[in-house]
C-alpha cells in the first residue's frame, strides 16, 4: 500500500464574517499520485490548498505533510510543497531567472544553476531567462509561476486551476509536464473545473462542493461505479414517442425521433440490452446502427453536485 504524503484531519475554515468555506475535511494523498480536486467555483478548492500551504489559517483540524505537522513544524512541511497559484501573481519588473532563483532561495535552497537551468529548459523558458516578466505573454507568465513552484525541488506540487485561460497548446504542454513530474516521483494535487483535465491526468479524484468533500475515489473505479453507459439505436423510421410497453427500460428519443437512447448501468450483470433488442424486434421497430458510449467524468461530477446540492 502506498504511504500518504499528505493527510488532513477534520480541517475546517470559518471566516470572520461567519462564512464557513470548509466543513471538517478528511483527506489523504498518496506519495507519487496525481490527485484532482474537482468542484464548481466557490466550492472550497482554493481555501483547502491555501490552508495546506500556510496562506490561510485553519479554524480546526490538523495537517501533516511528509510526517510533519503543518503548523507546529511548518518549515519542514512547507519546504516539501510547491504552489502554482490560480492568479498570475508574479513581480513584473524581475527577470525570469532572477525570480526563479529568488523562489529557490526563499525556500531555503542555495542557488543551484544547473537545476534552475533544467527547469527553465523543461518549460521552454531558458531563452527568455533574461527577459523581464512584463515582456512575456500570459502563457509564458504561467510557465514562470510553475518554474518558481518547482525551483526548490518540492515533493508535492499544488496546481490551482493550472490551465485556466491558457491556450490548447500550453494546456497539452502542461499535461505533459505533469506526467513527467509524476515519473520523477512528485506528488501532484490539482484543482480544476475542467473535467477533461482530471480525466486525462488524475489517478484519484475528489469532488468538493460547498466546503464538503463529497467523495474521493480512484478515477477508473469512480467511473465504473458511477458511470452510466448509453446505447444509441439509429432507427430506420423515426418515432414520435417512446412506444408503450417499454417502461422497464430507461429510453428517450433523440435527433427528432431518429435515435432511441437507452441508459443502462454497466456494472449490473443484466444490462437489459438483449431483452430490449428482442422487444424491439417483436414490435417490428427496426434499427440500422447501434453505438454504446460511457458517461464522462463530467457527467458524474454534475450528477454528484446536483444530487447533493
Amino acid at each position: 500500500m502506498t504511504e500518504p504524503i499528505l493527510t488532513l484531519s477534520g480541517v475546517s475554515k470559518t471566516y470572520k464574517g461567519g462564512f464557513t468555506a470548509l466543513h471538517g475535511v478528511d483527506l489523504s494523498i498518496n506519495k507519487g499520485e496525481i490527485f484532482a480536486l474537482l468542484g464548481p467555483n466557490g466550492a472550497g478548492k482554493t481555501t483547502l490548498i491555501s490552508i495546506v500551504c500556510g496562506i490561510v489559517t485553519p479554524s480546526t483540524g490538523t495537517i501533516r505533510v511528509g510526517g510533519h505537522d503543518a503548523l507546529a513544524d511548518y518549515k519542514a512541511a512547507r519546504s516539501l510543497i510547491g504552489l502554482v497559484p490560480q492568479e498570475l501573481s508574479v513581480d513584473m519588473f524581475e527577470t525570469v531567472l532572477a525570480t526563479v532563483t529568488f523562489s529557490r532561495r526563499l525556500f531555503g535552497r542555495s542557488g543551484h544553476n544547473a537545476y534552475i537551468e533544467q527547469v527553465l529548459r523543461d518549460l521552454s523558458l531558458w531563452d527568455k531567462r533574461d527577459n523581464k516578466i512584463m515582456e512575456l505573454s500570459g502563457g509564458m507568465k504561467r510557465r514562470v509561476l510553475i518554474a518558481k513552484a518547482l525551483a526548490h525541488e518540492p515533493e508535492i506540487l499544488f496546481l490551482d486551476e493550472p490551465t485556466a485561460g491558457v491556450d490548447v497548446a500550453l494546456r497539452r504542454d502542461m499535461w505533459k509536464l505533469v506526467h513527467s513530474l509524476r515519473e520523477r516521483g512528485t506528488t501532484i494535487i490539482l484543482t480544476t473545473h475542467y473535467i477533461e483535465e482530471a480525466e486525462e491526468m488524475a489517478d484519484r479524484v475528489g469532488v468538493i462542493n460547498k466546503g464538503r468533500l463529497l467523495l474521493v475515489d480512484d478515477k477508473t473505479a469512480l467511473m465504473q461505479k458511477l458511470g452510466k453507459r448509453e446505447l444509441d439505436l439509429t432507427l430506420v423510421d423515426a418515432l414520435d414517442a417512446v412506444p408503450a410497453g417499454f417502461e422497464q427500460w430507461q429510453l428517450s428519443l433523440e435527433n427528432d425521433g431518429r435515435t432511441l437512447r437507452y441508459v443502462f448501468d454497466a456494472t449490473q450483470e443484466d444490462t437489459g440490452i438483449p431483452s430490449l433488442l428482442r422487444a424491439l424486434g417483436d414490435r417490428h421497430i427496426a434499427f440500422k446502427d447501434l453505438e454504446t458510449s460511457k458517461s464522462s467524468l463530467e457527467d458524474i461530477f454534475v450528477d454528484l453536485v446536483e444530487e447533493r446540492a
Binding site: V56, A77, P85, F93, G108
Partner: protein
Amino acid sequence: MTVPGMNLHGIWAIYRFEMARSLRTLWQSLIGPVLTTSLYFIVFGGAIGSRMQNVDGVSYGSFIVPGLIMLSLLTQSVGNASIGIYFPKFTGTIFELLSAPISTIELVIGYVGAAATKSVVIGAIILATSAFFVPVVVEHPLAMIAFLLLTSVAFSLFGFILGIWANSFEQLNFVPLLLITPLTFLGGSFYSIDMLPQPWRTVSLFNPVVYLVSGFRWSFFGRGDVDIALSLGVTLGFLVACLAVIAWIFKSGWRLKS
C-alpha cells in the same frame, strides 16, 4: 554559512531582492537626497543661516546637519520598508512569502535589513554632501554610527508595520506625510527646543523624534536637547515596541492571512 533552524538563504533572497529593487532606481534613490540636502543648505545654511547667531556655540549651517540626516533617515526608512512589504500585497506575490519555510524574524531581517541598509547609505551620502557646504565634525563617531543604525532599524520596523497595515497607496503615503514629516520638523531638526517658548518646549518633549535628533546631535557636538541616556532609551524603546507589534502581526496574521 549555516545556522541551525535559520533559513539564511531565504533572508538573503529577500535582502538581495529589495536591494536590487533600489538599484533599479539608483539614480532617483541617490539624486533625491543629495539635491534636497543641497537645497536645505542653500536656503537654511546660506540665505537664512548667515543671518542667524550660533546655536549652542555651533554655526547654524553645521547645527542642522544631524537634523537633516535624521529627516531623510526617518522618511527613507519608513518609505523603503513600507513599500517593500506593501508591494507583494498589492501584486499578490505575498502568497509566496506566506507559503515559504521562513519565520517572522527571518522575513523581518530580510526586509528591514534592506530598508535600513538603504537608509544608512543615504544618511552617509547626506553627511558627505553636507561637508561640501559646512564644516562637519563628529565628536563621538561610534555613537553617531550607533544612532544611525538604531534609528534606521527602528523606523524601518515602523515602515514594515505601515506596509502591512496599508490597504492602498494613499494610506501608504498618509502616515509619512501627516505624521513622520511634521514630527521630524517639530522635533528639533532645524532648531534647539530650548529656543522654543513655553508651553511648546514641554509639548515637544512628547515628540519621540526630539530624542532621536537630540541623541544624534549629541554624537556630533557633545550636546543635545535631552540627556543622551534618555535619547538612547527612547530609541531602543521605540524599536522594541515595533518588534512586539510585528511579532503580534505574524502570530495573528493581521492583514496578511484570512
